[in-house]
Subunit: 786 residues, 2 copies
């Protein structure tokens, strides 16, 4: 059984010291012995600190100057001299690093010195931390280390400096993967109150030479478990702040694909909180899970708190590397060192998404390898499909079962007056023909089936099936349903022309042409379909979509099996109660439809009646970055038999249906959405005489409970006579001082008749804060015919 | 005297009818006669409507269906049939257009039918308006019309549909300039209350066949001046809404350079309002100025209200085309038709900016032709300048006058103990040497001047001047000030190494090297300089910066003489009072400086001491789009003699100084900033052993007077046990339900010691709403030496 998570052990400085003592005289280096031990304990990866306490001491002595008070000025000058010499040519002494051979570095994940302060408030500490970071990365690169974990950002106010330094290093260090360690909580909660400045030694005076110091948040392996401190609260704001820091870092690094996250689960997680789902949209490469996060179950074995359990279970399908640390400290009375990794494997086994992926017949299993892979939607009208494509879709057990049910019920409901004519429009290799015959059989009605197909290659397969299986019960007709002549009018028209967004494979246009041979009161299966949208966050899909560089490929929808994504919208209507649900309907197509004006052949004169527009308002409960829209469809085949890939309804309508992955409409420019904001999405289905395509646009708003104050007084600090606008916010139409020039202001007779409903007045309590647009719609579905 | 504004006349349907009647039998067409008349009246351009009332009637009969009530269904069907035939192949009849010959279209500006409703709430009206727009543009293109004016958007809620249609047309119509007519007020103020829907004829039933109808805001030429309606108020929200519509249109059109604005000044303007300055950042191609906007002065001549006067005066340097209309209606008792254009020329003549541009010796005059032109900053350290470059800068009358004053005062303040040594570091062609000699002369002190120069070509000029002008009073030294040996220590070191941002031409680095030969208590002229920033909006500069396509040229600062720009920040500190002033200081360099650690030659070991960082908060009073940062410098030469290009202080410090235009730091991605928001800007001056460069980043926030409500209940509509966060917003640390597992939550001893000052708590009333980042800093100033 393939495993989803990789397991990593974490080697500490203490482990290294002990290995050194134990292995005196051994031919192998202590590090090599530790790595071998880790592998033999079943770990796939080993993490270890890159530098030693010696390095930290030297850096501190050079870069943290004693406070001016009782300091020895000669000593300070000497330290400053040392620092300058170091800054000029940064490098390590042998005892300042843990590894020094290529074989020691093979396959390891190196932890960059966690005491670096890339976001310190002190300019010099920041500056020298960045030089140290570059030095450590250069050394890791020398030893061919492939992945490093960076210390967490700690200071929201200076995180841009952290981000800038990381971006600089990503550019100057070509191959290494950078993973930013980040606790799910705002680390400031853990940070002692102090103002760290380089010119004072005070803040470092209590620091021991151990690998942790009071300056560093205790998010690394805790060494003391006796202190029973109150756990800090983690309100929405704190959770936002942590994610905000990550968002700033990856934005400043321009979504570099070598930049990933190491989520630090040291703080306990709430058991059920929608806000955690935002991490599913981010590149979480590692999950840091110290033994201290485990609690003891009634038998004394280490287990995880409920919230952490479910978070890890849900994360499994993203194939993280889970870094266990402190497993040898004996923090739990039962189970020994291996209990922690066994428990993680148990969580993997009991993860619903892992189970679904491992079980044949599920969408999750069917989609293995296709997750977050951008596929260009099929264009079956323009292109003739391959036999293998038909075969793939014919394997869907649910879709054809539901089609058969729909045809069966339609037959049963049809007046039993002799011979019923069924026409399958777009028969392909014949699955719907076969299902029609079975439905006829079950219904015990008299019926004949016409099978229309325009793909000459599939038509060969159809002829074979007619010869061998169907005989006279089926009549084959070769041609495009928009042009062909069918010998008699059909009672029931069956088609399978739907795409992931319903109409995106031009089902409306094709069925317009087929209406010519459906009786006026005939039945169309499907009888209607709707398109649905939700706002999506996914740094993965954003990067995939822009990978092609060509604009037209950035601005075209894709078929995608979503995995590394998060739907940003929530239920609840928003602060103003004006927003719709989490996933919203855009538009509907119904068949048969009677409104088009048709020509002598019964074909519509233009395709204008198939143009559509929809504008939706989504409530965004938690801050996130909009990267695109998720598109779904739902179809009524007949009566209450349907097909659905709507994420909240698909299991009720057509569970385990495999044929459609959702559609992804990317935005070229990500749009930041704050908590409690409102997102207005516009989408158009457009058409000319040859093509059909979509365009989309989003605008964000923030409800402000009090409308903005008048700002004129602030704008004109020097004073002015602009009293025209002085009572702007009173909403009372007072005469302006200019009104004495009466003739100057002629107005339409309708001026006083009021305002239309869409006037901005109705938005008085809401402020626009951003937008993202589609400039250059690509992906037009060519539309043969007319 | 060159003119700044072009004047356009506006021909109406009535003018055309009258020309037709008057010219019976003439060889020329009525349109050609009208164009000739317009030219002979002194107009540079003529605007005319492209279509006639006949076209409007046909479109209405096809596309606006009678209401279902008493309508004739056969008639409806016929209309629908006609509409479909038209949609299939849109085209005009001869009497539906005003022009049909190439010579009639030459040099005109064509007004697209102003009754088109591209942003109607009705799907069909929108759809058919777009087809009509394409048809009109195709016809204009056929006749080689170069500029069209589009009807104004009228519906904020559907302006994205308007924008999308315009974008589509821009792409399908390659050469025509599109100008969007836009009143400075929200046109909804003028709009009658109705719900226009295609399926009802009611809303059109009162429409006459004249060129205006109740559906169309009366922003075109008013025909009735007798009705004394109250002028509508124009509060901030209304003004924002109009600009917001423009912003959406140009954003959806991706800042297409063929898209401009026709600002409609039909509504009267307030006399002094900062919010109008936003239009200076936009591509205002035309200003529409109907005779009805003019008021009569005491003598009965047409004049403009104060606000409109000053707006037009300020707009003159942007060289707009001012479209006058209704000048022949005789609305004012004196002056006749030509009074209006004469008045506009009078405003041009009395515009302060036009006067400045016309007056020799001003920056405005000096900069003619350089406005908004992006220049790569000089790198005089890396490159040896050309003689012509020196000559240009030597023409500055103010800069060298101030230098002489500074040297004079320094000499006077220096203890009069015999011989004073002045060293000019970077003498170029010698202007500072000459000024030093004049200052010595004025001060009647004994002094000698050393002139150091590393440009071998300029050194030839220096030798010539020494031979002919200076003699023994000056000693020339060839070499780089960071390496050269000067025979004696200087009392006064004079340099002119400043760039537009102060330190951007590496003055700090050069002077570090020159400190070797300045006495410990010597004077440096300049003694200090500061860099200043302000957030900038300019669609022009945004387009200029991205024109190169190459990312590194998008992310590098430019020297620019600003014109088509708007500074977004205001005074006043913002809602929280935490913001600084409109233009803020980033950092300072002082000389002589003593802090660097130097080597045996007296040179700094590294350049770390010249790294800088600054974070500033700006108050944004009115919504706008951030495109970059404006950079300025201010220098203290000596005492109270300085140099400044700071926009609010330059006139006090060094009025009419020509040598420096400001710096422009572009952002690759524009950032929308709402009214009353706060912008936090970070900027870094970075250095390695070879180069110096800047990076910059901005984040926007919106103060919310009430902190966000807890949203957990909304997130989990199905209910959950996530009580962990239920009291998230109460700011009280309550024990979580998980706390019973005590041992699971070890924390650092410092957990309870509080939070540092920068924790997000201090931002409780503020919500992050966006960011824009520099990913790939270009424009590193190479730094020879060390």
């Amino acid at each position: 059984m393939p495993e989803f998570a990789a397991l990593a052990s974490s080697i500490t400085h203490e482990d290294i010291s002990q290995a050194f003592l134990k292995g005196q005289g051994s031919a192998e280096t202590p590090i090599l012995r530790l790595l071998k031990e880790s592998r033999s304990n079943g770990y796939d990866v080993t993490c270890l600190p890159l530098t030693t306490a010696k390095w930290r001491e030297r850096w501190r002595d050079m870069c943290i100057l004693p406070s001016a008070g009782g300091a020895d000025s000669e000593k300070i000058a000497a330290a400053e001299q040392q620092a300058e010499i170091w800054r000029r040519a940064p490098g390590f002494a042998l005892d300042e690093v843990t590894i020094s051979r290529l074989d020691e570095a093979e396959g390891i994940v190196a932890m960059i010195s966690d005491w670096l302060q890339l976001d310190s408030t002190d300019d010099w500490l920041r500056h020298d931390s960045e030089i140290a970071l570059r030095q450590e990365l250069a050394y890791a690169s020398y030893l061919n280390v492939l992945t490093v974990i960076l210390p967490p950002p700690r200071n929201r106010a200076h995180v841009a400096s952290y981000a800038r330094a990381v971006n600089e290093c990503l550019k100057s260090t070509p191959y290494i993967q950078f993973s930013i360690r980040l606790p799910i909580y705002d680390p400031a909660v853990f940070q002692p109150k102090e103002s760290p400045v380089r010119r004072s030694m005070d803040s470092f005076s209590s620091a021991s030479s151990s690998s942790t110091s009071p300056r560093v948040p205790k998010l690394t392996i805790p060494t003391s478990q006796t202190k029973k401190a109150k756990p800090p609260k983690a309100p929405e704001g704190e959770l936002n702040a942590t994610w905000e820091m990550w968002d700033i870092i990856r934005t400043l690094c321009d979504y570099n694909t070598r930049l990933t996250l190491t989520l630090d689960l040291t703080p306990p997680l709430p058991s059920n909180l929608a806000v955690l789902s935002r991490w599913t949209a981010e590149p979480v490469q590692h999950i840091f899970l110290p033994a201290s996060t485990f609690i003891a179950n009634v038998k004394g074995y280490p287990v995880l708190p409920k919230g952490t359990q479910s978070f890890i279970r849900d994360s499994m399908t993203h194939r993280p590397t889970i870094i266990l640390s402190g497993t040898s400290l004996g923090s739990h009375s039962k189970g020994g060192e291996s209990a922690y990794s066994q428990y993680v494997r148990y969580l993997e086994k009991t993860s619903l998404s892992v189970q679904a992926a491992r079980q044949a017949g599920t969408v999750e299993n069917f989609a293995q390898g296709y997750q977050d892979f951008l596929q260009t939607p099929l264009q079956p009208l323009m292109d003739n499909l391959q036999s293998i494509t038909y075969q793939t879709f014919e394997q869907d057990p649910v879709k054809y079962r539901n089609y058969e049910e729909a045809i069966f019920h339609a037959l049963m409901d049809w007046p039993d007056s002799g011979r019923i004519v069924i026409c399958v429009a777009g028969a392909g290799r014949g699955p719907l023909v076969a299902r029609s015959l079975r439905a006829i059989d079950r219904s015990r009605r008299q019926a004949v089936v016409y099978a229309v197909e325009k793909n000459p290659n599939a038509y060969v397969t159809l002829q074979g099936r007619k010869d061998k299986e169907w005989g006279d019960s089926v009549e084959l007709l070769f041609g495009d349903m928009r042009q062909i002549n069918v010998p008699e009018q059909a009672d029931i028209l069956v088609s399978e022309l739907l795409g992931s967004f319903g109409d995106n494979e031009l089902s409306p246009e094709c069925l317009d042409g087929a209406m010519r041979f459906l009786k006026v009161d005939g039945i169309s299966i499907p009888s209607s379909y709707t398109a649905h949208l939700a706002p999506l966050s996914s740094s993965k899909l954003f990067n995939e979509a822009r990978a092609s560089k060509e604009l037209k490929y950035m601005e075209t929808p894709y078929v995608v099996m979503f995995q590394n994504v998060n739907i940003l919208s929530g239920e609840g209507g928003g602060v103003g109660g004006r927003c719709g649900s989490q996933v919203q309907e855009c538009w509907e197509f119904e068949h048969p439809r009677k409104d088009p004006i048709v020509d002598g052949r019964g074909l519509p004169l233009t395709n204008s009646h198939n143009a559509r527009f929809s504008k939706m308002s989504f409530h965004i409960p938690h801050a996130g970055v909009l990267h695109g829209l998720a598109g779904y469809f739902e179809a009524v085949l007949y009566g209450d038999v349907g097909l659905s890939i709507h994420p909240l309804r698909k299991d009720q309508v057509s569970k385990d249906m495999l044929s459609w992955f959702p559609l992804f409409f990317p935005f070229r420019d990500p749009l930041y959405l704050p908590s409690n904001s409102e997102l207005q999405v516009s989408i158009w289905r457009l058409t000319n005489q040859r093509q059909v395509w979509y365009e989309w646009y989003a605008e964000s708003f923030l409800p402000v409970l009090n409308p903005p104050l008048p700002t004129e007084q602030l704008d004109n600090p020097l004073g002015s006579d602009s009293s025209f606008f002085a009572c702007a916010s009173t909403n009372v139409a007072v005469p302006s001082p200019l009104i004495d020039a009466v003739d100057a202001f002629p107005h339409s007779e309708k001026v006083e008749s009021g305002r239309i409903d869409e006037s901005p007045k109705s938005d008085a309590g809401i402020v626009k804060i951003g937008q993202t647009a589609l400039h250059n719609p690509g992906g037009r579905s060519s539309w043969i015919g007319l």
